[in-house]
């Protein structure tokens, strides 16, 4: 069947029809995704057709045991039961509410976002060094027996043997030449590239009976009559009697030390959850922070997140709760920075971690807190980047000056960025500004 091909074509078509990321971040449903897989809805995957407006069409429902009263809400209408025996291609209305998703991992997300927003963030700052035992490729002269490099020892010994091996019979014949002296034999042998030692000749000299001396007129005559054997022939013939192992050849293996560099990042997300942070503002924070989290997860080898909610007090929360919390209290932004400083100090030392500290809120703060506490704290917490995202749908309120004060205080510094989001359309710009700012140190 050509169905495999059709499936491939479908995937290609689906890919083309996927929501572009900008749209997705600004208006899409971010809730269907998690840190491992980002689900981008695919636009209108099926072909369009002349169809009724689903709202205007209404429908027929079935009560559960009794007929409901007129005017009662029915919830989202259930699509008609799908067809299951294939002799029909489509039930009226059964496509309603169907969503297809394109799934991508954070790496792909980061790559796509780079492309889409023209970003170019290279994870830098510290490269954390870690020592890892590498392969057993280093050698020492001492060590436990189990790590003895026997292969090397054997090879060395063998080499040694080969280097000292010579044709003993040939040298003995040389000793039988008329008028030969040990010295003359040694010199002649060396000329013939026979690796015999003078000591060996001296040792052997007495073992030749006198009547045998003078068997040959000269060395030349002897060499012409006696056949020499090569080392290989001798080994083949006699085998290797012994390999001269020497202590000096012994080597012990031990592991190499490799310096592994891992790019670690910790992102501190701070959010104002006080009474003034209504639904609209909250959503803008989520739309800005969530893609930032995904992006940094995709860029770094290891990413950890800290979520801090605050009103006048600050407390650490789980991600699931972070965007949902609402409290009634006032606002003191410095409380969050105090907690952030504590957590970073304790768990994520600056020497080992890249740090991002993102805070968001509607810029309302208790009087003088920004100037007296927050700004000094931001200065004192070392980080790749400090960001403040003001989410204020419909412009700034009069008392809400936190963002401006921060901006003014850090006018000339590179490691701090302040952005304003008043509308979902601003979200991608804010993300761009944040990710394209980096402390150049």
């Amino acid at each position: 069947m050509g169905l495999r091909e059709d499936l491939d074509r479908f995937r290609e078509v689906g890919e083309r029809r996927r929501d572009d990321l900008t749209e997705f971040i600004r208006y899409g449903d971010l809730g269907g995704s998690d840190a491992d897989s980002i689900r981008v809805p695919i636009k209108m995957i099926d072909l369009p057709e002349f169809a009724y407006d689903p709202r205007d069409r209404g429908g027929v429902g079935q009560g559960d045991g009794d007929t409901p009263d007129v005017g009662q809400p029915v919830g989202e209408p259930q699509p008609a039961d799908g067809d299951d025996d294939g002799d029909d291609d489509g039930e009226p209305g059964d496509e309603a509410g169907d969503h297809e998703y394109y799934e991508m991992d954070p790496e792909e997300f980061a790559e796509e976002l780079d492309e889409e927003l023209g970003l170019d963030l290279e994870p830098k700052g510290k490269e954390v060094v870690e020592e890892v035992e590498g392969d057993f490729t280093e050698l020492t002269r001492a060590g436990p027996d189990s790590t003895l490099d026997f292969e090397r020892l054997f090879k060395k010994g063998l080499k040694r043997k080969l280097a000292t091996d010579f044709d003993e019979e040939f040298v003995r014949e040389a000793m039988r030449v008329e008028g030969a002296t040990p010295d003359a034999v040694f010199r002649w042998c060396r000329e013939q590239n026979v690796l015999v030692s003078r000591a060996w000749i001296d040792d052997e000299w007495a073992s030749i009976p006198d009547e045998e001396r003078g068997r040959w007129e000269s060395f030349e005559e002897m060499a012409g009559s006696v056949e020499r054997t090569t080392t290989a022939e001798r080994i083949r013939q006699d085998g290797i009697q012994e390999v001269p192992f020497r202590r000096e050849d012994e080597r012990y293996r031990h592991p190499e030390v490799v310096e592994e560099t891992e790019k670690n990042v910790v992102v501190v997300n701070i959010r104002d959850v006080s009474g003034s942070m209504r639904e609209g503002k909250r959503e803008l924070v989520e739309r800005t922070f969530t893609p930032l989290d995904w992006y940094l997860t995709g860029k770094y080898d290891r990413a950890e997140f800290v979520y801090i909610a605050h009103d006048a007090e600050a407390w650490e929360v789980d991600r699931e709760d972070f965007f949902g919390i609402r409290s009634g209290g006032g606002t003191r932004i410095s409380s969050a920075y105090e907690l952030a400083a504590e957590i970073l100090e304790e768990r994520y030392p600056w020497a080992e971690w890249n740090r991002y500290v993102f805070a968001a809120g509607d810029s309302e703060n208790s009087s003088n807190d920004t100037k007296e506490n927050v700004v000094p704290m931001m200065e004192s917490i070392p980080a790749n980047l400090h960001a403040y995202v003001e989410t204020q749908p419909g412009g700034t309120a009069i008392n809400a000056t936190h963002a401006e004060e921060v901006e003014r205080a850090f006018e000339d510094e590179t490691g701090v960025v302040v952005t304003y989001v008043s509308d979902p359309a601003d979200v991608t710009d804010a993300i761009y500004r944040i990710l394209s700012t980096e402390d150049t140190e």
């Binding site: 050509g2 059709d6 074509r9 205007d56 209404g58 007929t67 259930q78 025996d85």
Partner: protein, 670 residues
């Protein structure tokens, strides 16, 4: 398909007998199915067949890939319940999944036999053939679809044709695949409807035998020419062309970027358009009879499996479970709705037969019917004769071969010990259709007790009104004895020939049915911004239900003019029935229609709008705002859309005055 596999072969062997006997039983019950070829397939192949709409070969297109992808995902989450596929072909092809239990296989087989009967006898299926529904021997659907697949594949692979362009063209046609004239025979669907243009007055004058003198004086030629032209133009608009695909086939063009003009289609484009339109007509029959067809198959499946014991003892438990799941799935379930409608038809017909006879008993009138008839007695009298009700090898000798309820030939063979007629296993073999009808007479079923008694007085009166022979029987026993047990099934067979879902539901969805099943309609409330129960009136429910089946559940769009405003623009009209179009989707369809017309395209429709003032008042008074219905013409010229007010005269033409599927009550939510 893959006969080489051991499992498939084993399964095939195991199913040989059930397959043969199910076909025999179906015929005994009065069905006339196409012969069915059964194929054993594995799970993957089943998914592939489902994606391809029940066939093994289709043209290359991504939508099959999409269907396959969905099917696989459903499967993964355990939602897939693919039990059977059968396609409309002669012989029909049915696919059985190798891993099904024997009980499931038998259920599928009986279900399939009934589908094959429906394919063979329903006239709406017949429309694809020569239109008469008589001779469908030439229907070779699988081969046709395979041929289509090869042709389109050859265009896709043709190096001279851009593959993307072929796909784009197919997409464009598929967007319009349901805008056909599915109520007409395929062979003649592209001809214009009769009385297309009125005959020229000159011909009429000829017919009237008007003398040349009178003619010359009364009607000068120029006037006659003008009249003919005007009438033709009017006719063009009066009779919209429902088969949009045929119209495009005849008059469509492609826009040529280079010349900047509309040019003739390329030969491959014509061929693709023709193929896709043909397939639309082929599949239309199925789409139009879904409820009836599924109901029909479930009805006979249930009778064969349950009542005729086609499933053995423990198989029956599995089967009952399966059936409960199929019929019990939530939402509007075509199996359940269809089966219940068929049972209603059967019961009502049988009841009429019995009551008609009872009213002919001396002394019984429609007024005293409920007082003088002893329903217990009638029930006993109606019960099938014992020798028909339970047939075993021992009772074989009690059967009278001359009894019309008995299959004399089979009885003889059974008595001779013919192993083919195993009475203990298949008692139906020695009975005729009449005998089986008595055996399974619907009014004798426990769940239908009381149905006779519940006959409304109005119906009694109607039956009695023109009854002359009203003292035909002396006793109730005589009257019941004369009951023809086969009328119910006969009536059902008649209806399965002539009806489609719309007419069937319209005719047989009773008030009782709607109330008993707690059906209601819902509509969207602007005031509360959600869907609310709008009506529980059976008429409203029926209306809303019919909307889901009329024209495949989609709005009717037809060609109103191919030379709109003398500029060669296409004018499509949405025939408004009170429910607005999905405008965004409609615009996307227009963009693609442009690819098939090559010149600007227009769509007339009616939209419902709410003016600010009205919304404000409604909000303040806490009531539903009253919409204004406004005519609109959306025009697409290849680059952008324009929306115009619709000429009131044209609005008149597309807005049906007599139908409105909106079921919102006047005083809602107050």
């Amino acid at each position: 398909m893959r006969d080489d596999r051991i499992n498939a072969r084993r399964e095939a062997t195991r199913l040989t007998e059930p397959v043969e006997e199910a076909a025999n039983l179906a015929r005994k019950l009065g069905l006339e199915p196409y012969p069915v070829n059964y194929w054993i397939v594995d799970h993957d192949e089943m998914n592939e067949l489902i994606a391809y709409g029940g066939f093994q070969e289709r043209y290359p297109h991504w939508r099959w890939g999409m269907a396959y992808d969905r099917q696989q995902k459903q499967d993964q989450f355990g939602m897939g319940k693919a039990f059977e596929i059968v396609n409309n072909d002669n012989p029909a092809h049915a696919f059985l999944q190798e891993s099904n239990s024997l009980a499931d296989q038998k259920a599928v087989i009986t279900h399939v036999e009934a589908h094959a009967d429906f394919f063979a006898n329903n006239e709406w299926f017949g429309l694809f053939g020569d239109g008469q529904g008589d001779d469908r021997s030439d229907l070779d659907a699988a081969a046709m679809l395979e041929r289509h697949g090869e042709t389109i594949r050859s265009h896709v692979e043709d190096p001279d044709i851009d593959r993307e362009e072929v796909e784009r063209f197919i997409d464009a046609v598929l967007c319009l695949e349901d805008t056909i004239d599915q109520h007409r025979a395929f062979a003649r669907a592209d001809e214009r409807r009769e009385s297309d243009a009125p005959p020229d007055l000159r011909e009429r004058l000829d017919d009237l035998d008007v003398s040349d003198d009178v003619r010359r004086q009364a009607f000068d030629e120029e006037w006659l020419d003008d009249l003919a032209e005007a009438e033709e133009a009017a006719a063009r608009l009066d009779e919209p062309h429902a088969d949009v695909l045929a119209f495009l086939q005849e008059h469509g063009r492609q826009f040529d970027e280079e010349t900047g003009r509309a040019e003739e289609f390329d030969p491959w484009q014509k061929e693709v358009l023709d193929i896709l339109r043909t397939e639309s007509y082929y599949f239309a029959g199925q789409k139009m009879t879904k409820v009836m067809n599924e109901g029909w198959a479930s009805f006979w499946e249930s009778l064969m499996m349950g009542d005729e014991n086609f499933a053995d003892g423990d198989e029956f438990v599995t089967y009952a479970d399966h059936m409960a799941r199929v019929l019990g799935s939530p939402g509007l379930n075509p199996y359940k709705l269809g089966m219940e409608l068929w049972e209603y038809v059967e019961n009502v017909t049988n009841r009429r037969e019995v009551v008609d006879n009872l009213l002919r008993v001396e002394g019984v009138t429609w007024r005293n019917f409920h007082d003088v008839i002893d329903f217990e007695e009638v029930a006993e009298l109606l019960a099938p004769d014992p020798e028909i009700e339970s047939v075993t090898a021992e009772t074989l000798d009690d059967l009278d071969p001359s009894d019309p309820r008995v299959d004399a030939d089979a009885v003889e063979r059974a008595r001779d010990g013919d192993m083919d007629v195993n009475v203990d296993r298949y008692p139906w073999k020695v009975l005729t259709t009449a005998g089986l009808a008595e055996r399974h007479f619907s009014l004798c079923r426990p769940q239908n007790r009381g149905f006779l008694r519940r006959i409304p007085r109005a119906e009694l009166e109607r039956l009695a009104r023109y009854m002359f022979d009203d003292a035909k029987y002396d006793t109730v026993a005589d009257a019941v004895g004369a009951v023809d047990y086969t009328v119910g099934w006969e009536r059902m067979r008649e209806l399965r020939e002539s009806h489609n879902d719309v007419t069937f539901i319209d005719a047989f969805l009773s008030e009782e049915f709607v109330t008993e099943n707690d059906y209601f309609t819902y509509e969207y409330s602007e005031a509360t911004a959600d869907f609310r129960v709008a009506s529980t009136d059976p008429e409203d429910v029926k209306k809303k239900l019919l909307l889901q089946f009329t024209n495949f559940g989609k709005p009717t769009v037809a060609v109103y003019d191919g030379n709109f405003e003398n500029r060669n623009e296409l004018l499509l009209g949405h025939q408004y029935n009170g429910i607005a179009l999905d405008i965004e989707q409609a615009k996307q369809v227009l963009e693609r229609t442009y690819d098939l017309w090559g010149r600007p395209v227009n769509l007339m429709t009616v939209v419902t709008e709410y003016d600010e003032h009205e919304l404000e008042i409604a909000r303040r008074r806490n009531r539903e705002p009253t919409p204004t219905e406004v005519g609109r013409r959306i025009r697409y010229d290849g680059e952008e859309f324009e929306t115009h007010e619709l000429d009131p005269e044209l609005k008149e033409r597309i807005a049906a005055a007599d139908i409105d599927y909106d079921t919102k009550p006047d005083e809602w939510l107050s």
